[in-house]
Symmetry: C2
Subunit: 207 residues, 2 copies
């Protein structure tokens, strides 16, 4: 009957400029002080691991809205020689309209193309790969994709995000037919405006 530190770590995904990106921060504690890593912190005794994850995201991005889902628990005894701890990893998803305030994006926290990640401490690169696999699964199985988009979106945007994450192309007509059969995605009467071309109808998710 031993007690341990509990740490929450998060792989935050967001599509930026039609690329899948991951939120990277700088460590402000030893070991590896100032090196690049994924957002993390200790879970406090008065909060759940989910609450801790929300708190960490808010500290790093000033955003209080994010989709979170548990990814995996790591509990190797020699991961950090100073403490006995376990690491509860989350996947987080921000939608394309959720912007991070600029000075934060410049100085401390930033999104990096998943294909151009810098060296990360510990096994963080492997965890990103695991998280990406789970996102792919979630998109094939159900509506995880909804969290990458705001409430209203065009079918081209939706198709674009499918293509980026699943790394394949869709034929526009076949894609639209697929969506028509999906009972969770419905057309609205709204349209895009201020675009330099025929405005697209906006769609929405119904859960």
């Amino acid at each position: 009957m031993d007690t341990m530190y509990v740490v929450t770590d998060i792989v935050v995904f967001k599509i930026i400029h039609w690329k899948l990106c991951v939120l990277i921060v700088q460590r402000d504690t030893v070991p590896y002080k100032w090196e690049r890593c994924l957002p993390w912190w200790f879970v406090k005794s008065y909060e759940t691991v989910e609450k801790a994850a929300y708190r960490i995201i808010k500290k790093e991005t000033w955003l209080s809205q994010i989709y979170l889902e548990q990814l995996h628990v790591f509990s190797e005894i020699d991961r950090d020689p100073r403490w006995r701890a376990i690491w509860i990893w989350f996947i987080g998803i921000l939608n394309i309209n959720q912007v991070i305030v600029p000075w934060l994006e410049q100085k401390e926290a930033l999104f990096v193309d998943i294909n151009k990640l810098p060296q990360l401490v510990f096994n963080h690169w492997e965890v990103v790969a695991l998280a990406y696999q789970k996102v792919i699964q979630g998109i094939e199985d159900w509506l995880l994709i909804t969290y990458f988009l705001p409430k209203y979106f065009t079918l081209s945007e939706l198709q674009h995000i499918y293509e980026i994450i699943l790394h394949r192309r869709y034929d526009k007509r076949n894609f639209r037919r697929m969506i028509e059969k999906n009972s969770h995605i419905k057309i609205t009467t709204y349209k895009q405006n201020n675009v330099l071309h025929r405005p697209a109808s906006l769609y929405t998710f119904i859960k």
Copy 2:
């Protein structure tokens, strides 16, 4: 920076008499002493959560082989008023040939049909439901079903297990065609023996 107790809990599944069953034990500590619950215990500082799960299963069943997979972390602060703890839940699967020694099965640990579970402490019933959902997912997505069967098995056994877990029927011919296309399941040259009918060919999983 607080420390907590870490508990591992396991939902162990096994097909017995062609029914999906869950391993139930008796609590030997307060609160709820002697009531039915799922296998659990504290994670010690010198082991991972997985090692703890194996240890718990060995204590309850005397079996040292089991398939384990992480299910979910619960960390509500008021779940147990005596300690601040977090609960790491696992799914465990035993194959149809792995028997529990009889006196244990009678006295302390036993498998109960998932449709006839007794009252369980805490939210254990909900966790079983969550675990069952994940098993269904795992069977649809990939080869989780392999863990319900021993190394060699007949297609009728495989079909039977699919039918029990996914709660649907398959046509024998369509099922066999489906399996032929599955590159992870291969026929062997072995056959059943000592059966009162035409002996079936044995198949095996290649991973």
